[in-house]
């Protein structure tokens, strides 16, 4: 007999209203077949059956609101007729929690071998409510722990059997863990029975709830000492730490950054460029440019234009490495790093060398705007052959950027600043900036790196192209 519980449909949800049974007692039900519907606030949710079997009993009638983990019905499993483990909880898909009446160690095994172990459990299982009365011991594999709590426990190496849950049904909440971490030992209780080994949680856990602590006489060892709190928190002080899962984008960035550092032999060379000529041109054109095109003129398109010319002269900088081959690219597809609110993306200007300053500025504005509103198409962030990052816009004068794999170089642009410069023993005020080229020393030798950067510098310092 399998208990079917009111599932937890979100971290903040403590109860749900059972709106409709989709099966009657005596009806056969397949695993994952919708069994009943619940309603929380403005959401109706179909709950699939955790197992195949026959709906034996309805314990919570339609219209009743009950706390999560309340047993709402029982299914007599069809294990005898369907021995192929069909009675195992739907580990990855079913939001329904299944209260297994099995003793804890079996429940953990039930991850891989559900049916037989659950079947072996005594039929007279205590209801989960009983657990609340006996000092709840929730094992890491048990109960509707939120992913956050699980992760926090794992990262801090917390034996969850030592944490008292104050949530509904004795559930361990984030606050409980934070209190535990803060060394408020008053909230931590020793297990009422012998400690149990806490197995590492599998990535996708079956929401198996263990209703009662299971004494296991064979392992009557003393509980391991609680990790000593390293600091005594002031009462009411905010928790010493906060655990938050990375967004997908953050995970990708992390992965790519370390991948790049592991892959390329990063070397950065820095050249100082006199931007006075470009700055004067820009100042002269700023107003009419804005008026004519509807967007401002920045230094970036000048940098891009100069980089494109230098890339044409030194095609190795526009190449990539594949095994022991050098891949030269016909096109210059220039990636521009764009900072997002919580991340970074590198949209690509295709055939950047075919565009003039106006066209480049337009592409930059368009790509950056759409990057920030997340409306780039996948083909607009692929196919880059070289990248530019403009950390100068954040005030940095120079930095050592990480190569955008599988490219072999990235040009970082520092802030354009006015400063005193010695020219033929006279002091002049000039607009200058640092150009930092990070290159892959596997393919590009120092001399080439400097020739390339010097070329960019020379084009910028002797700017001769019409802008508009």
């Amino acid at each position: 007999m399998i208990d079917v519980e009111m599932p937890q449909m979100g971290e903040s949800i403590v109860e749900g209203t059972l709106t409709k049974w989709l099966k009657k007692p005596g009806d056969k039900v397949e695993r994952d077949e919708p069994l009943f519907e619940i309603s929380t606030d403005k959401v109706d949710t179909e709950i699939p059956s955790p197992v195949a079997g026959t709906l034996a009993e309805i314990l919570v009638e339609e219209g009743k609101t009950v706390g999560i983990n309340t047993v709402v019905g029982r299914i007599s499993d069809g294990a005898a007729s369907s021995p192929s483990g069909s009675a195992s909880p739907a580990a990855t898909t079913a939001p329904a929690a299944v209260a297994s009446p099995a003793p804890a160690p079996q429940a953990t095994v039930a991850q891989s071998d559900g049916a037989s172990h659950i079947d072996a459990a005594p039929q007279a299982a205590p209801a989960p409510a009983a657990a609340q009365d006996t000092g709840t011991v929730v094992e890491e594999t048990a109960g509707p722990l939120s992913p956050l709590v699980r992760k926090m426990a794992r990262e801090n190496n917390i034996d969850l059997s030592r944490v008292k849950g104050t949530g509904v049904g004795g559930r361990i909440t984030k606050q409980d863990l934070e209190a535990f971490l803060n060394g408020q030992t008053g909230t931590a209780v020793a297990p009422v029975s012998a400690p149990r080994p806490v197995p590492a949680p599998p990535p996708q856990q079956a929401p198996v709830h263990v209703p009662a602590p299971a004494p296991e006489p064979a392992r009557q060892a003393a509980p391991p000492p609680a990790p000593a709190p390293t600091q005594v928190a002031m009462p009411g002080a905010p928790p010493a730490m906060r655990v938050e899962p990375m967004t997908i984008m953050r995970q990708k960035i992390a992965e790519h950054m370390t991948f790049s550092k592991h892959t390329s032999a990063h070397v950065t060379t820095v050249h100082k460029v006199d931007m006075t000529k470009v700055a004067k041109l820009r100042d002269k054109l700023k107003g009419s440019f804005q008026a004519q095109y509807g967007f401002g003129l920045t230094f970036l398109p000048f940098m891009v234009r100069a980089a494109c010319a230098a890339l044409r002269q030194y095609p190795l900088v526009n190449a990539s490495i594949e095994g022991t081959n050098i891949i030269y690219h016909r096109d210059i597809n220039l990636g521009i790093a764009v900072a997002l609110e919580n991340g970074l993306i590198v949209p690509v200007i295709r055939n950047a060398d075919e565009k003039n300053i106006v066209g480049l500025q337009r592409s930059i504005v368009d790509l950056a705007t759409r990057a920030r509103s997340r409306q780039l198409r996948p083909d607009e962030v692929t196919g880059g052959t070289f990248s530019i990052t403009n950390f100068g816009s954040f005030g940095s004068i120079f930095a050592t950027p990480v190569i955008n794999q599988p490219q072999v170089a990235i040009l970082g642009i520092g802030a354009v600043q006015k400063e005193p410069v010695v020219i033929e023993d006279a002091i002049a005020i000039r607009s200058t900036a640092y150009l930092a080229l990070t290159f892959d020393h596997r393919l590009i030798d120092g001399a080439l790196g400097d020739q390339f950067t010097a070329k960019v510098k020379s084009i910028l310092e002797n700017w001769s192209e019409e802008v508009m």
Binding site: M9, G10, D41, V43, D44, I248, Y328, G383
Partner: protein, 230 residues
């Protein structure tokens, strides 16, 4: 240059998960529901990415799972004469009205790839609409215990959601220039609170503009890359 072998480089930083945007224009409730149901099934099977359907319905009153017939104030023959359909649906919430001038959105999102949290999902839908309204200078807000988006004590957008195997359906209805008289036939969501529209609030934005802002806000709130589909 010796070798000029050209190939597309893989992206270094991949875009977020995709969400396809379909603007269905004006479409009857039943037809849109069938389309939606079909997409939900395909989403469950993983055949398609997340979807955002935008539609405008002819006059229709829909009743959620928890709907009370008492909240439909007009008799069925009065509704019939007024050209209003009556539909039962499996979404959450009580009674609501859809009609011309309303932007109805049906996001089909697999919450297993988001937060696995239905309440967080509701709050996120509210955020999408609040953000979109803000683009037109309208300050929408939430009210505890009354899901939806409110402006100056009146409801401008209603929300009702159905979830099956963590895949969402139904969604939100934002009053752009809806004829608010039609709400007199019902007690919206069982609440005897006024309803309002963007037009009533002095906003003259066009439907396409508002839809674009909704899509943009949806992309940001759910971290999805919106792909427009015909």
């Amino acid at each position: 240059m010796q070798s000029t072998e050209w190939r597309l480089m893989p992206s270094v930083l991949e875009t977020p998960a995709a969400c396809e945007l379909h603007d269905l224009g004006r479409m009857g409730y039943a037809r849109a529901l069938a389309l939606q149901t079909n997409m939900v099934e395909r989403r469950k099977r993983g055949e398609i990415p997340d979807q955002l359907l935008i539609v405008e319905h002819p006059h229709v009153i829909t009743m959620g799972r928890n709907a009370h017939m008492a909240n439909v104030l007009a008799s069925t023959d009065i509704l019939e004469r007024a050209g209003i359909e009556l539909h039962s649906t499996d979404r959450g919430g009580d009674v609501t009205y859809h009609g011309p001038g309303q932007i109805v959105g049906y996001p089909i999102v697999d919450l297993r790839e988001w937060k696995r949290d239905v309440v967080a999902y509701l709050r996120a839908l509210e955020q999408v609409l609040i953000d979109a309204l803000a683009e037109f200078g309208i300050s929408g807000y939430r009210r505890t215990g009354a899901t939806g988006v409110w402006v100056d004590g009146a409801k401008v957008a209603a929300i009702g959601v159905h979830i099956s195997r963590w895949v969402t359906s139904h969604g939100f209805a934002l009053n752009l220039d809806t004829d608010l008289d039609y709400f007199k036939y019902i007690v919206p969501c069982g609440l005897t609170q006024p309803v309002t529209s963007m037009r009533t609030l002095g906003c003259t934005a066009r439907r396409e503009e508002v839809t674009a802002e909704i899509a943009g806000a949806f992309a940001r709130v759910f971290d999805r890359a919106i792909m427009e589909k015909e």
